[in-house]
């Protein structure tokens, strides 16, 4: 990790230190720091954890052990869009399994997997508090409730990787 002078998208040490400074240099800010790292870089890399540990004066294993405890923190790269499907009782009773199957059919990936183009990661999560509109999924921060399997392709289309020239997936 050398210092960074371009618009690189991998975390460089200065960026990480800036995040630590922003959140506060104490152990109790570890989770806010990890949230921020993920927001900036999509996931929390081993290198980022090492820098955070050094900055906070705690062990890397502690940072890593803490990060891996929480399901919303990713220590490995994820797809550009993260689809979360709830399979807790309220959603389960309303047919979340069928929704799950529809997503798998649409994207060709099982929960826990990422599409080859890196556009989607699909995961089954515990209750998201959307029981009033069960079955529900979240795509990134967007909520979709009262779902039917038929609605899935249209929803996913909104997040489809673009095929235009920019190559950015706009």
């Amino acid at each position: 990790m050398k210092s960074c002078n371009s618009d690189c998208c991998v975390p460089c040490e200065a960026d990480i230190v800036a995040i630590v400074d922003k959140c506060g240099r104490t152990e109790c800010n570890l989770i806010p720091i990890l949230h921020e790292l993920q927001r900036s870089f999509g996931y929390i890399s081993d290198e980022a954890m090492e820098t955070v540990a050094a900055e906070l004066g705690i062990t890397v294993s502690q940072v890593h052990g803490t990060a891996t405890f929480y399901t919303l923190l990713y220590t490995r790269p994820q797809g550009k869009n993260i689809i979360k499907i709830c399979d807790s009782p309220p959603c389960h009773l309303q047919g979340s399994k069928a929704i799950q199957a529809a997503i798998t059919k649409a994207l060709g990936i099982e929960p826990g997997e990422t599409t080859l183009d890196g556009n989607f990661t699909f995961e089954v999560v515990s209750c998201m508090g959307l029981c009033g509109v069960a079955p529900a999924i979240m795509v990134n921060d967007d909520v979709y409730g009262n779902l039917t399997a038929e609605a899935i392709p249209e929803i996913l289309d909104k997040y489809a990787a673009c095929s235009c020239c920019c190559g950015e997936g706009c």
Binding site: L30, C131, V133
Partner: protein, 539 residues
């Protein structure tokens, strides 16, 4: 606050935004202004109304008329016809099932007793002025300027307020412990890590009326002598985080947080702490560990948080709903409050019926209301004309009850409501499948620290996997019962202690259904696969 004769709720849920809801909102505001109605009619953004296929949608109050598939081109007509002339634009009126969110607001206004929810859907959650106009921060003023901390605690004690997170510990007593504990620094923590499946009341309060919580925390801080507060909101609740943070900023700007609040000498500020995805952090000691930057693993009790909490300091940890009750008690008095509810359960309770009910939603009723009143009276009974089968009280960590319980009253002396979730099953659902799903939830959420919970939740899932694959045996039922008992007796914290409760409660009610799976290798509801034999599944 200006009083508006009408409110227009604009669904700005994601699906709606993708179809142009923001442009619609702007057009509405402009058109209303153009017609000179902006002093009379207010446009309010709201979350998804649950009209997935019919967005953008708006609801016009007080009539409660829903317009679906509204476009910018329809705005002039709606304003002209409905708002000016009072004639509904029938071609746009939504004709499907009334969406649950709206229905829940209308259906049972009369039967509900809205104390904590009184502002929800009525005021703009981003406006402190509207909150104040509805009597907000009156309680803070009263407590901080006319009452001593001891008087505040006495009032809360006298009100009979108990914790609304499920455990039901007397709030005043908890505050008293912290007030009397030694500590240079004391903390107030609002537990907004609402993770128990089926519960979404705290989300509604945070999104719809966040100042109530802030007020409750300020009063608590004053009562116990705390300087710092945290609202621990689960990471999944982005909107709650945003609304609460916005409310905190405004409160801070107005001097309701910070130093010497209202000249009382109280210096107190609140921070939002965003959880990172762990149900266990709803357990108070795990929440503390998480706040301290650690794995959310529960800690030994005793000592308890009121005396040895965050960073070892005296700490009050209260649920969102509990804190939201506090301002109302201070304003209206303990007598008023303790007259609501039953002998042992005072005040109101928010329920969130969901599952196979017509109108899943959030309803506030006095303690002592019957299960039937909530499920059939408010949530509209079972949807699609099916029959009621059972309800999981409070969520996966609660008990399963059947029809015989419908007329029991919801209070600590009869049917304990837990945190308020009512997960309802209709006659077509399989109890074994439901309890299996609960077991999977606990296995996913066990922190892995103590043996009985770590291994026990895993083994529970395995038993259910065997049973629903057709590889069960009759004696398994006894073994799993022993396992559930062990977990209840030996687990370090509530997660493991309660993980087997739903299962145990379901055996006497639905033993035949279990035996059908275990002995006849058949799922009466036709839900479980039952497609394997013992040798294929069990090692």
């Amino acid at each position: 606050m200006a009083f508006y004769r009408a409110h227009i709720l604009v669904d700005t849920g994601t699906a709606a935004v993708l179809k142009g809801a923001n442009a619609l909102r702007t057009a509405l505001v402009d058109e209303i202004k153009r017609k000179g109605l902006d002093k009379e009619i207010k446009v309010v953004e709201t979350g998804a109304l649950g009209l997935a296929g019919a967005v953008p949608a708006i609801v016009v109050y007080p009539e409660g008329v829903t317009y679906a598939n509204v476009t910018v081109d329809d705005v002039a007509e709606i304003v002209e016809e409905h708002l000016l002339k009072g004639r509904q634009v029938s071609r746009l009126v939504y004709k499907g099932d009334t969406p649950s969110v709206i229905k829940s607001a209308e259906n049972c206004r009369s039967a509900e007793m809205r104390v904590v929810l009184k502002n929800i859907g009525v005021i703009d959650p981003t406006s402190i002025d509207e909150y104040i106009a509805m009597g907000g921060y009156e309680a803070t003023a009263k407590a901080l300027t006319t009452m001593s901390p001891q008087e505040v605690i006495a009032e809360i004690k006298a009100s009979g307020l108990t914790g609304r997170g499920g455990a039901g510990f007397p709030t005043g007593l908890k505050w008293d412990f912290t007030a009397k504990a030694d500590g240079d620094q004391k903390y107030i923590i609002c537990n907004a890590d609402e993770g128990e499946p089926g519960n979404f009341k705290d989300r509604l309060i945070m999104e719809g009326d966040p100042h109530q919580i802030i007020e409750g925390m300020i009063i608590a801080a004053y009562a116990v002598g705390a300087q710092k507060g945290y609202i621990y909101i689960r990471g999944e609740y982005q909107q709650s985080v945003a609304n609460t943070e916005r409310a905190l900023d405004v409160a801070r700007e107005m001097g309701l947080l910070g130093s010497d609040i209202m000249g009382s000498g109280l210096s107190f500020d609140i921070e939002v702490f965003k959880g990172a995805g762990a149900y266990i952090c709803g357990e108070e000691t795990a929440l503390l560990a998480s706040l301290e930057g650690q794995r959310g693993e529960s800690r030994m009790k005793p000592p308890f948080p009121p005396t040895h909490g965050l960073f070892g300091m005296p700490t009050v940890i209260n649920n969102v709903e509990t804190l939201a009750n506090v301002p109302h008690i201070i304003v209206n008095g303990a007598d008023w409050y303790s007259n609501i509810g039953t002998q042992k359960s005072k005040g109101t309770k928010i329920f969130s019926p969901c599952g196979d009910v017509q109108y899943p939603g959030v309803y506030e009723v006095p303690f002592g209301s019957t299960l039937r009143e909530v499920i059939f009276g408010m949530a509209g009974g079972i949807k699609s004309g099916k029959k009621f089968k059972a309800v999981l009280m409070g969520g996966p960590s609660g008990v399963l009850v059947g029809e015989e319980a419908l007329d029991r009253s919801l209070c600590s002396e009869d049917l304990n409501p837990g945190a308020g979730a009512l997960i309802v099953l209709d006659e077509t659902k399989c109890v074994v499948d439901l309890i299996k799903n609960c077991a999977q939830f606990f296995a996913h959420e066990s922190c892995g620290q103590c043996t009985p919970c770590r291994e026990g939740t895993k083994r529970m899932v395995e038993f259910f996997n065997w049973w629903t694959a057709g590889a069960g045996s009759e004696q398994d039922l006894k073994l799993l019962d022993q396992l559930a008992t062990t977990m209840a007796l030996t687990s370090k914290c509530g997660l493991g202690q309660f993980a087997g409760v739903a299962f145990k409660s379901s055996i006497p009610l639905f033993e035949e259904e279990y035996l059908a799976h275990l002995v006849d290798k058949r799922c009466p509801a036709g839900i479980c696969e039952m497609d394997k034999v013992e040798e294929e599944v069990r090692v």
